[in-house]
């Protein structure tokens, strides 16, 4: 069993060598990486849903060991009626849950079929894009904690949506946009049919009565469509006008108003043409574009939500008479809280009682725990690992480090979206030019032939409709985002593709991004004075000592099939372990723990672990992170393309340096705090570089949002994902190269689309102004040009094969 080749059947992570757990599928046994994955996979297979594995497009998240705790925690909600969701008729409630780990449609199917089979659950809806699950359930038949238990049992983590109202609002927005689109679509079909009759009448002759009738029914259908579906264009045109800008919607609103009002005048006066068909068609195509944009925008995960999810929902407040559970948001300065081992700190504060080690990955990105004593600061969101401590709150939840980080994030995100609006400004200019041309046309015809005034002006407005122009970018982006999703890359901000093609500098985070974040032994140096120990022997001793230890470093030492006969654990300390193997006492741990004089050695290095007995040191293990799959291949490919590569890490200099050397990146900066990383990136940008940041940790989130474009890799924290433009769902880094390629192709497509739309307009407008184009021809031309843009964008998906070649090449290289 080789370590690197073998991936967990359920979560796709490498199976540790020491693990020989399997699950049975169709008579084959598939390896799994831990008992959590085994339990989840078995449950899924036993309930006859093995096809989840066949059809899923992304691997599952590794289930946490805390599934039992999840149920325990949720039991507290069972009695709180306010958390059951909004009551609907028949005693049922509609509950909205945010569920972590939903990655593809197969997940949604799995959750639906698991939940809907239970007594007491009436209906389940899963939104794959946002991870929201809406459950119609009967609180009198099923407990809330049971629902949480079912979800935890199949490997998902349920959360109460803290920003539920916001999520509901977004859904409402999407629904009403869809309604407007649908109404416009149905209306368009009808009016086009009547219009066909009218055009045929124009060509072959028609009696006045049926003609009047057809015009009349067109009006009856058009008016509600205009009022209902068209209202958005009026409100948004009004908004941009009241901000003294000429938005894209101004000519749209103008064109549909003129066309509608003039058609009405012509209809009631009984002479001239009606253009109701142009009005509805126009509204429909524009609504279609808007809806597509809205859907992409909503794919963005909500930053505030991801942030809130880091925080525990409850805190144990110490009162005079004992303690009580209060919502974390109610905590205030000088409150005292008790935080047990395994819990998350609910607020920033000072330790006032107890000693423990704390995981501050939140700030540093490193999973190595930090020792905390009385008087030390702890921050909200970090995890208390070993012992119960009491903490005095020093900052209100609103001002905690995490909240500040969130604000930092939001600020840079809004700044960046302003940058992205540049393309809209071009559209504004285009619109202004169109309006000028239209008024010039109107002026000319007023002086020369008043009868041609309306048809010519209208033709100009309709034919130069920014439809194709405004579709050029979104259509290309929509089609490439679909293509990327099939490839295992989720695009969260459309315009990022345009920026990505201009990137000249790639900055990587180290831990968790270039590396997997789990340490491995790189080399072993034996004490030359102790000839009685072989390398194999010290490995065995270390493996025995670290057996069953939960310390992250212990992973490096685990060894399969070891005979655990003669071990006796004496001490399990933060910095090391002490125990007896074959009656001899050993210590394994940091130099301080093993009482090693470091003067013999060149430097202090916390990636070294020592093995000692009472006669002094026996061996020294050099530990380092394991490189992520495809990291080497990706880095060399990126360099071949002439990109600047850098590493920014919160880890110490040596650790970063050694990884940089192994992977072949010359520039690296170590010991960087999130704020320093942000500064560094900004200074790069000031020098004129366009930066792609690749990261994964919570501490990377601010810097990800500052970068021109950002990507997160699989296993990244939710907060980092919320700040990223691209989320890579596969485990290897080679997707970076694929994404760069498709960005380049997308840019090419956008250029083609824009070129087409512009040249079409330049060609058609003079004819329209000259009165040579009848409005219906203009409408047809406009639709055709939009259609060409959409079809051109669809070509992206057909270029699949080219991309697969790259994939095969990087796969062929040794990982």
């Amino acid at each position: 069993m080789t370590e690197n080749k073998c991936h967990c059947f359920h979560c796709g992570e490498p199976v540790p060598v020491s693990c020989d757990l399997t699950v049975q599928l169709d008579g084959r046994s598939e390896p799994v990486c831990c008992s959590g994955c085994q339990a989840v996979a078995n449950l899924i297979l036993e309930s006859g849903q093995s096809r989840y594995y066949q059809f899923r497009t992304a691997t599952a998240i590794k289930p946490s060991d805390e599934n039992v705790d999840i149920v325990e925690a949720w039991k507290r909600y069972d009695s709180r009626q306010s958390l059951w969701g909004t009551p609907v008729k028949g005693g049922a409630c509609e509950l909205l849950l945010q569920v972590e780990g939903i990655r593809c449609a197969a997940c949604a199917w799995l959750i639906r079929s698991q939940l809907e089979a239970r007594n007491g659950i009436e209906q389940v809806q899963v939104d794959v894009a946002t991870g929201f699950v809406r459950i119609n359930w009967r609180p009198d038949k099923l407990l809330l904690s049971k629902i949480a238990g079912i979800l935890a049992g199949i490997g998902y983590r349920p959360h109460l949506p803290l920003a539920g109202a916001e999520a509901m609002g977004r859904q409402e927005e999407r629904r009403s946009a869809l309604k407007r689109l649908g109404v416009a679509g149905l209306g368009m079909m009808q009016v086009m049919m009547f219009a066909a009759g009218l055009y045929a009448g124009d060509a072959m002759g028609i009696d006045e009565a049926p003609e009047r009738f057809l015009q009349w029914v067109s009006l009856v259908v058009t008016a509600p469509v205009l009022l209902y579906s068209g209202s958005v264009f009026y409100t948004s045109a009004w908004r941009s006008l009241s901000n003294r800008r000429v938005g894209m919607d101004v000519p749209v609103a103008l064109a549909i108003s003129i066309a509608f009002v003039m058609s009405c005048i012509n209809f009631f006066s009984g002479n001239g043409h009606v253009y109701f068909d142009s009005v509805v068609m126009f509204i429909f195509f524009l609504s279609l574009g808007r809806y597509a944009e809205l859907v992409i925008r909503h794919r963005n995960l909500q930053t505030g939500l991801a942030l809130a999810r880091l925080m525990p929902e409850w805190a144990e407040l110490i009162t005079d008479g004992g303690s009580e559970q209060v919502p974390s948001t109610d905590l205030r300065k000088t409150d005292r809280v008790r935080v047990r081992a395994g819990q998350t700190f609910p607020a920033d504060g000072l330790v006032i009682r107890g000693v423990s080690s704390v995981n501050e990955a939140l700030l540093t990105g490193e999973s190595r725990p930090v020792e905390k004593q009385v008087g030390d600061k702890v921050i909200a969101g970090s995890v208390n690992q070993t012992q119960t401590v009491e903490v005095e709150v020093t900052r209100d939840p609103d001002e905690s480090t995490v909240s500040m980080m969130g604000r930092m994030l939001l600020k840079s995100q809004t700044q960046r979206s302003r940058y992205a609006q540049l393309s809209e400004r071009y559209a504004g200019w285009f619109v202004a030019v169109v309006l000028c041309v239209a008024s010039l046309t109107a002026l000319w015809w007023i002086q020369h032939d008043i009868d041609m005034l309306l048809p010519a002006t209208l033709a100009v407005l309709v034919i130069s409709c920014p439809c194709a122009l405004s579709l050029a970018t979104p259509a290309a982006i929509a089609s490439s985002s679909r293509f990327l999703l099939e490839q295992g890359v989720l695009l969260t901000r459309g315009s990022a593709l345009e920026v990505l093609s201009a990137v000249d500098t790639v900055v990587f985070d180290k831990t968790g991004t270039l590396t997997t974040g789990t340490p491995a032994i790189v080399s072993i140096s034996l004490n030359p004075a102790r000839t009685d120990f072989s390398e194999a022997r010290v490995r065995d001793i270390a493996a025995l000592l670290e057996l069953d230890s939960s310390h992250p470093v212990a992973h490096a030492f685990t060894k399969p099939g070891i005979d655990r006969a003669d071990v006796e654990k004496l001490l399990n300390h933060e910095n090391g372990v002490e125990g007896r193997v074959d009656k001899v006492a050993y210590r394994l741990g940091s130099s301080a723990f093993c009482r090693i004089e470091l003067s013999d050695f060149d430097s202090v290095d916390n990636s070294r672990v020592w093995l000692t007995d009472q006669n002094g040191w026996v061996a020294c293990f050099e530990l380092d992170d394991r490189l992520r799959d495809g990291a080497q291949a990706t880095v060399s490919e990126l360099r071949r393309r002439g990109l600047n590569l850098m590493i920014l890490s919160g880890d110490n200099k040596q650790a970063v340096g050694s990884i940089a050397k192994r992977i072949g990146i010359d520039m690296f900066h170590a010991e960087q705090s999130p704020a320093m990383k942000m500064q560094f990136l900004q200074s790069l940008q000031e020098k004129g570089h366009t930066v792609l940041m690749v990261g994964d940790g919570i501490n990377d989130a601010p810097v990800l949002s500052v970068a021109n474009v950002s990507m997160t890799v699989s296993g990244a924290s939710e907060l980092a994902n919320s700040a990223a433009d691209f989320i890579i769902t596969g485990t290897t880094l080679k997707y970076i190269v694929n994404t760069l390629d498709s960005a380049a192709r997308t840019k090419q497509l956008i250029r083609q689309n824009l070129a087409w739309a512009l040249s079409y307009n330049l060609l058609a407008v003079p004819f329209a102004a000259a009165g040579l184009v009848v409005p219906w021809m203009a409408a047809l031309g406009m639709s055709l040009s939009s259609l060409i843009v959409v079809m051109n964008s669809g070509r992206l998906a057909k270029n699949n094969n080219k991309n697969n070649v790259i994939e095969q090449v990087s796969e062929a290289e040794p990982a």
Partner: protein, 65 residues
């Protein structure tokens, strides 16, 4: 030709029904999740997850009383 005067109002009536049906479908959330239902055609079969454990059933029954 006079059939037009019957057929077109009928068509508009049908249109109104279609609009109503569409809005009803959107309101009841049938368009909220367009992905997973497509999968259920290939994925669903007659096998259902095992019923709740005995203690779970009794738990929830207790609760309902």
């Amino acid at each position: 030709m006079s059939m037009l005067y019957v057929l077109i109002p009928l068509a508009i009536l049908l249109l109104a029904v279609a609009v109503w049906a569409l809005i009803w479908a959107i309101k009841t959330g049938q368009f909220d999740d367009l992905e997973s239902h497509g999968w259920s055609v290939v994925l669903d079969d007659d096998q259902k997850p095992p019923p709740l454990d005995e203690d779970e059933v009794s738990d929830s029954e207790k609760e309902s009383r």
